[in-house]
Symmetry: D2
Subunit: 423 residues, 4 copies
Amino acid sequence: MTTAYDIKDASLKDAGVGRILWAERSMPVLRAIRERFEKEKPLEGMKIAACLHVTTETANLARTLQAGGAHVRLCASNPLSTQDETAAALALEYGIDTFAVRGAERDHYYQHIDSALTFGDEGPDITMDDGADLVSQLHSKRTNLLDGVLAGTEETTTGVIRLRSMTADGALKYPIIAVNDADTKHFFDNRYGTGQSTLDGILRATNILLAGMDVVIAGYGWCGRGLADRARGMGARVIITEIEPVRALQAHMDGFTVLPMAEAAKIGDVFVTLTGDKHVLRKEHFEAMKDGAILCNSGHFDVEIDIPTLEEMASEHRTPKPLIDEYVLSGGRSIFLLAQGRLVNLSAAEGHPASVMDMSFANQALSSEWLVKNAEGMEPQVLSVPKEIDRDVARLKLECMGVRIDTLTAEQEKYLSSWEEGT
Amino acid sequence: MTTAYDIKDASLKDAGVGRILWAERSMPVLRAIRERFEKEKPLEGMKIAACLHVTTETANLARTLQAGGAHVRLCASNPLSTQDETAAALALEYGIDTFAVRGAERDHYYQHIDSALTFGDEGPDITMDDGADLVSQLHSKRTNLLDGVLAGTEETTTGVIRLRSMTADGALKYPIIAVNDADTKHFFDNRYGTGQSTLDGILRATNILLAGMDVVIAGYGWCGRGLADRARGMGARVIITEIEPVRALQAHMDGFTVLPMAEAAKIGDVFVTLTGDKHVLRKEHFEAMKDGAILCNSGHFDVEIDIPTLEEMASEHRTPKPLIDEYVLSGGRSIFLLAQGRLVNLSAAEGHPASVMDMSFANQALSSEWLVKNAEGMEPQVLSVPKEIDRDVARLKLECMGVRIDTLTAEQEKYLSSWEEGT
Amino acid sequence: MTTAYDIKDASLKDAGVGRILWAERSMPVLRAIRERFEKEKPLEGMKIAACLHVTTETANLARTLQAGGAHVRLCASNPLSTQDETAAALALEYGIDTFAVRGAERDHYYQHIDSALTFGDEGPDITMDDGADLVSQLHSKRTNLLDGVLAGTEETTTGVIRLRSMTADGALKYPIIAVNDADTKHFFDNRYGTGQSTLDGILRATNILLAGMDVVIAGYGWCGRGLADRARGMGARVIITEIEPVRALQAHMDGFTVLPMAEAAKIGDVFVTLTGDKHVLRKEHFEAMKDGAILCNSGHFDVEIDIPTLEEMASEHRTPKPLIDEYVLSGGRSIFLLAQGRLVNLSAAEGHPASVMDMSFANQALSSEWLVKNAEGMEPQVLSVPKEIDRDVARLKLECMGVRIDTLTAEQEKYLSSWEEGT
Amino acid sequence: MTTAYDIKDASLKDAGVGRILWAERSMPVLRAIRERFEKEKPLEGMKIAACLHVTTETANLARTLQAGGAHVRLCASNPLSTQDETAAALALEYGIDTFAVRGAERDHYYQHIDSALTFGDEGPDITMDDGADLVSQLHSKRTNLLDGVLAGTEETTTGVIRLRSMTADGALKYPIIAVNDADTKHFFDNRYGTGQSTLDGILRATNILLAGMDVVIAGYGWCGRGLADRARGMGARVIITEIEPVRALQAHMDGFTVLPMAEAAKIGDVFVTLTGDKHVLRKEHFEAMKDGAILCNSGHFDVEIDIPTLEEMASEHRTPKPLIDEYVLSGGRSIFLLAQGRLVNLSAAEGHPASVMDMSFANQALSSEWLVKNAEGMEPQVLSVPKEIDRDVARLKLECMGVRIDTLTAEQEKYLSSWEEGT
């Protein structure tokens, strides 16, 4: 069978292979799973439609699924995060059907999702999504392909929020595992991954000095607090905005300044949104900001900053450096937007480091295997990653890093299950 | 009705009152609840048997329950944590039945529990426990008092572990709310409270310089990670021991060194146990430790360090300062044990600061009110704190501190409940 | 020769000995010096008048000087920092002339300084000072004893500032080594010692939760930045006030908020002064503070907070806990002053941990030895600690802690002294 | 007069101008100086030979010197740090003689230095150096141009070490200001600049996750401790190697692990050298390293890692990604070298952020002005930046950032200069 693809530039293949192998060095858990899958073929015959950031880490996931016997069709979950050399290597070196071109326009992007969904006349057995665009397309425009779908997985918080809305509406047609719920996913990928890579994106785009800056972070979920720790670690003063009292209280007790955005807007040098919601930065905030304010987004969709309004407000638009748009507002103040408001860690840097994606994608691979064995006949619903998968991933990761831990003695196990022994 | 009590020294009353009012300044949420309880009397006629650390913060809780109309009988949940001046003030100024003497021997301690349980011929309507000693006594030795009990609350992780064992054994006879499960309890009390107060206890006992020391922390639960952050914040190098892979991995990714205790024992200058389990430090570890190693416990019970064995191993025993026991082992190495292995934050310092207990005890007070309304006829089981109580406590705390947060716009609420809008 | 002394309570001797030996465990460098001094007697016949905080660490310094052959007369450099049990042990166990009573009134305090200065009809050969009170007394009221003085040492920044003023006025009559200038003194004692012990004092006095608090620190010298790091490490938000642009800029770049005190006064929950100057907190600031603000001082003298004015402004004065004075201002706001504005780390806690004083006092002991050999005929002036002493102290400390470091290879030494080899 | 230049690509001019103006936004102090220089022309007629990293920040310095009336000839101080678009803009937009091509070979590099030194038949009036390559060349190969040289400035620690060796040898022929000695240079540029930009370089080259890694930092000078803080801030465990006891002790007390390199080599995931010395990582260390170890240098010269020996030891050499060289050693272990061992922050990222260079280069510009007024007739020597310049730079920077600080009251000034007032 020949490989189907729509990629930017075939000549980038070798560069892509080099980088995929470089990433693989930091993904020992996924490699161990791939080696097992090669022998056991647990995904034999499965058609998997995957809509993920087309990066070197995803390439190693795709190779793992393929090794397990699956037929994978891959499209991008964000037009700006695609690495064209990775796409080239996937299609031309590893024989994986790949539809991804960096910077693709909206229509082209959705056409790629359609390509990923279509296996000849059939739809996929399993969907693998990152933000629920593919699932949404399948449930609204391509319902003809829904019939044979067994199950799916979803990578992000944002996607899970959408899936829960679909479930509440009775719209969801098959069970989907929320990979983000796994401790080995959200504790690590959201926190350490987003924290570092968001700063990395900001630095690559701007080369500003973070020390001494006021960085405003909208949202104190796992991603937000990961970023807050890292920004403080770089010497910034961090201001948090929140809508949820318990989180706000935590941010306050963690030593950050908590303010409503209307106040924070006047102070911030850099603003980052990670809320999963819309228009977190909007007209009233743009009006209050200082000259030189830098805005970016590390939430899944590019709606967290109200860019259309910013464009309307601007009397002039410049591009001082690639990935930086300067909007000159009335009175001469300039506001700088990074990466067009798309995920700054993927658009301006390389996304999560391979080491965290190792665990997220190990959860993806093992969840797929589990679904093949268990999903038959399940109700449409959002499922958690089974606890034993979560713990296996952690145990395997520690082993790969050479970190040893304790085990309970018999006496200790007994003590934990008794209740008579007291003070 | 006259007040019943067994306290150390009536002359300490005034000192106790001063300190209770000082603590009250940091407990605005509980004060607000007390003011409402005084008007609404939601606990009218309830007999509450409370086994808690007899500290200034507990005094403010007892005053709140009393203001709500309850008859409270209070005993200590740990013989070393009792503040005798607080006990005196409770009995003599506030008219609360109090049975607590610092340093009480085992028999005296259990006699106090019995006193707290006995309201004339009857038992309590509600039990309020911290470590489940009172509940355990009631279910084993004082079963005659079990009949009329409506419900209970439990403050600690350790206690909840015991209650879950009781439930599994079918031994538990009434429903109990696990206050520790509230986000506004365990995020704050376990983390910030235990973190700071454990260091405080170590410093008051030893006056050592933490900067540059190797501090070994057994257990990376909420308490352990709170302490790890603070110890690092004081300039220590922190080593974590764990038995649970996901937690161990987090500790590693948080930049701590993760080791089995057998390795850590050779390196540590200071050891702190916060696991809820038994003999976390034991013979094999004592044998490996350096001369001068300092041991203490911040877990609920004094069983985490195997003290009997340490005593057996010692050729000599000294007390260089109050709260420090020196054990001279063969070869001349000395190991120093703080506060006899009891909760170092309560025994050598003053326990959690009032500001965190404000939230924990607000959950206690509101949970009691909820139980009076809802517990009738419930199955024996361990319940979570109702979410609305948790959120109310957080909201009230933010208000009291003058911290304002954002609210969702209508557009944002709508966006969060939709699933069609995507990339 | 009998020992002369004025102490509080002879019965405290044994408690004092226990604590002095406990401190000695953390002072291996000073112990090593004492062992050498016992053999070599480099201070034979020297009369040393020492005005230092009478703590367990100072006791070990006095023992070291005595072992070197000196006759030491010791008085307190602060009436509130004296540990009465240490004074008792010094006089009665170690035979050192000691004049120190905790809480001594002003006249009693100066009478002790006079006692320390007077060796029969003679004055001292060497003065050892902490804040320059003894030197000031000697140069103003006891000039008759000045004649035979060979040299002196001074421990603190504050004292050195006074000595430099004296030098500028031509008032200083003999050379004095500024021990504070040694890297192994100010980097460690000022930074790690003051940082930790100031927080320790605040916690012992108040038991407040630092996490989430706004802590205002006046002064970003070595002490101030040590405290700022630790306060942040405990979860506080830290605000710095400064008068020196380079330091203010550093504080800003270190991620702290820099404000004029007039602004900071409105925000702070806790205020700490460490400037070496007068009335850093004064009327205009008291008027701006929030209800409940806590004030303390960790600078040498109790003049940094304008307490007389605070007293005048207060309509009421209470003492809710020992070491806390409550001043009720008009409008009902309360301001709380800790330890009467004296050094909070010494008055409410135990001062610098022994481990840092080990290095400071090793510099003191070795500087005394150096002065005996070199001070004859030197001009009156403020001298630095000789570099070789500084480095020896560091090397010895590392050895005692078992920390090994690298040495240059021959090739590397050569490279460092060449200039031709380039890009 | 036409502009002389040797640059890579004239078509990059516009991109260069955009980036120079972007950097200028973060350099308000230098801009203020430029505006004054334009009016006052304090460098009128001066010939300045500058050997600096050819980056956007340097471009703004060159524009400032030019505005002051100087004729500037600029060459690169490191072949890998040159930004070709900046060079193009300098030569073609701003009319500054520029000799810099990224990746120039050794001969080409030294030819550029010669070009910068030669103003027709004459040499420069002032030299401005970064690492002392230009000064070294002038004193060894181009001594004919030495005669008219008035003075110079040197930017780096490494250069100053070389200049001190020259002075000790009697080789230096004119006075040079060590700009690195300015507090507003080394506190900020070395610490915050190198700290952030070194991590930035590592991340751009590798995209590894720093959280949980063991990062070995050779050298705990200002650069090393800046990096150590940042690496810890990103979640890494940091190991320090040092040869100087006081610094090693500080690293230990700051909570880092201090080890000899022979031990650290076995543990590290990433190694960074910042020592100013040669072969800090060498054969014995390569032999001990783990498979996958990543090596880089952030010290001035590429001699800190013994690359020739690493190449000899390797059985195979690959380039998995640009800027990463993989050396496969016997037994199959791979060691990865970043940016060929050249300054990783300049070679793999963009060097110090403009915000810190603003202060460093303000010192450069003001030192040049000072030298023109004061250097006539001075002895050859290494001079410090005059204190008033240092303070002016700090004051100006605070103003530009809108940070206000306190000033002493009259009473406070008086107190600081008095010595009688005491306890």
